[in-house]
Symmetry: C2
Subunit: 373 residues, 2 copies
């Protein structure tokens, strides 16, 4: 039925890490992969040329924000997101559910759908799963996500139970309402930190059947270890021949740990947001470029990095730019941070192909960079 | 003595427009030329790759701002401005005089020099012409400007007279204190809108002798026509075998009118600043991209422009970016606006070579674009 296939190319010798390939209408996504976030149809501060230079296979955009501004109807009129933003590789849109639940002061939730107020003008909007599919179909991304209910942490078990049941029902309704054959619809596993609820959610979604699965409801405030503890069993319950996408996770160490558990795709605003705050990922751990110790440091940002920021500019220059709030500071750090995570997943892919992901991860854990989680 | 030569390649048939070539340690500057402003060792929002793509021959940086942050000593330690900001073509630094006189609440001015307070921390600093030369020598630009006194408009004639006399004396002291043979020191003509004072200033500077001449004290609030009226005679009084740089002027029409009077070089923050405010130069005149009429305009920003913004993105997309305050909006508009002025001076050079600058200017004056002055 669907043109979307996932090729499982290799499984690591000692971990559950997988090397795969997901085919979309706009090119192949090599997995494991990090997906830069372009909230409002732009990865903040990056030109499309820079995204190509970074070799981003797929970028993410947010349905909630695009629905409010400029409107999904306008983007459809422009010929879809790819044409609107001039990006010819793959795009993934989330459903907007996460933003509704995390940004809204007030919302009215029922099995039918969710009523919420715009963060821009306070206007009320109602989305059923069917409405959401129509909106994402107008946006025209290659991968779209089901509308789901994402509970916060901590939350009452009963609340999470309802979210799991409702999300599964909405998954079925999204699948029924989904029409565009050039879009792959992914279901989303919920269940918080409850192993049995996660299992129930994964099983119900697998029964409905999707070309890929999101793993949602993590990185919402729960302890780090608790996430990694419950993540492995979730992966084990999902179909082996479909990609698994851990939503909203982007710390270097967490990405590598999750890959070892069988996760294939990641997205997070962390690299771009921390860059705008003047912070860089590095082989020496996170660097705050406002720090006075960099004022006369004429060496590269990260001596082990080969990106165009690290090969062309000094820490002293970047500190000057951050210090004087110059746009170029955010631009250079964004480029570096995205390169860092894309390169990390490139290295992970190579390690899995070499059947040595276990050693690769062990080496990482003992490096100064691993403090970034 | 100086390695800096200016080749006068052609003079226009019917106007005073000149086609020239100024040789610096970091490459040739083809004139007439527009110089993008990189106030704090960065052209706001542009990567060095983008500046190369724009074929900027020379960029300007501000001594006042760099002296305060990160400090000229730090830049000297980095190996100079070129290495600090990774720019291998020509750089011009102003003296900082303009910023001292326009930004300062309090200052103490005497023939010896100027005492001023930092806009950052209020600390007092004193610059003699000799101090200023030392600072600009630390920065290491290819073209440096004398310290001068730039009177505002309107100003009492007596005040302007003093400024002319003092600036000429400072010009001589700057020349005496100037040591680096790889830096060309330009004198600066003052005199406000008084033809006789301008003439006196030009003559005194020409007597001292410089490899190039700045024309300062314009675009400080005087009526537009008054500037163009007095500019021609100033150009006529300056040596023909030296480039003439009209400081701080960057409106498309004013640039073209000034070229007809014999000006060779221009700089202004206008293209970059207006870009960050969401405004574009265009063949249709200035466009405010916040305007609702662009919301569903899927055509290019300027249909007559071949820059990477105009060939890749729609007005609707740019309006969306500006409207949502996305960095990419400022980046794309900055790129376009700089391309627009650089292309305008490219066209001017071609017209002078073809001995048809008069017709070129007449055509411009009758186009909708000429409303931008």
């Amino acid at each position: 039925m669907t043109p979307f296939t996932y090729d499982l190319l290799a499984t690591d010798a000692t971990t559950s890490a997988r090397r795969g390939r997901f085919h979309t209408t706009h090119g192949v996504i090599e997995t494991p992969i990090f997906m830069p976030v372009g909230t409002r149809a732009t990865v903040k501060g990056m030109t499309v040329e820079q995204l190509h230079e970074l070799d981003a296979h797929v970028i993410l955009s947010n349905t909630y924000h695009l629905f409010l501004r400029p409107g999904s109807d306008l983007i459809a009129e422009a010929g879809g997101l790819h044409r609107f933003m001039n990006w010819d590789r793959a795009i993934l849109t989330d459903s907007g559910g996460f933003q509704i639940f995390s940004l809204a002061d007030t919302l009215k939730l029922s099995d039918e759908g969710v009523k919420f107020r715009s963060i821009i003008d306070g206007a009320w909007h109602f989305w059923s799963p069917e409405d959401n599919m129509r909106i994402q179909s107008e946006l025209g991304a290659d991968i779209i996500m089901q509308l789901d209910q994402c509970p916060p942490y901590p939350a009452e078990r009963e609340f999470v139970e309802t979210a799991v049941r409702r999300s599964a029902e909405w998954a079925a309704r999204c699948k029924a309402a989904h029409t565009r054959e050039d879009q792959a619809l992914f279901g989303i596993v919920q269940g918080g930190v409850h192993a049995d609820l996660r299992a129930e959610s994964a099983e119900r979604l697998a029964e409905i059947g999707f070309p890929g699965y999101g793993i949602g409801g993590y990185s919402v405030g729960e302890p780090h270890d608790l996430m990694l503890e419950s993540l492995g069993p979730v992966c084990d319950l999902l179909p082996k021949d479909r990609p698994r996408y851990l939503m909203g996770v982007g710390n270097p160490t967490t990405i590598l740990e999750a890959i070892a558990l069988g996760v294939d795709m990641f997205d997070c605003v962390l690299p771009t947001r921390t860059a705008r705050l003047g912070t860089a990922f590095s082989s020496e751990g996170r660097l705050n470029m406002r720090n006075a110790r960099f004022a006369r440091d004429f060496g590269p940002l990260d001596p082990k990095c080969v990106c165009s920021t690290c090969t062309q500019y000094s820490r002293a220059y970047i500190r000057h730019l951050v210090n004087t709030k110059e746009m170029l500071g955010a631009i250079l750090l964004t480029h570096h941070n995205l390169h860092y995570l894309l390169d990390l997943t490139r290295q992970a892919r190579a390690a899995i192909e070499a059947q040595s992901y276990g050693e690769f991860l062990a080496q990482w854990r003992s490096s100064p960079a691993s403090n970034d989680y």
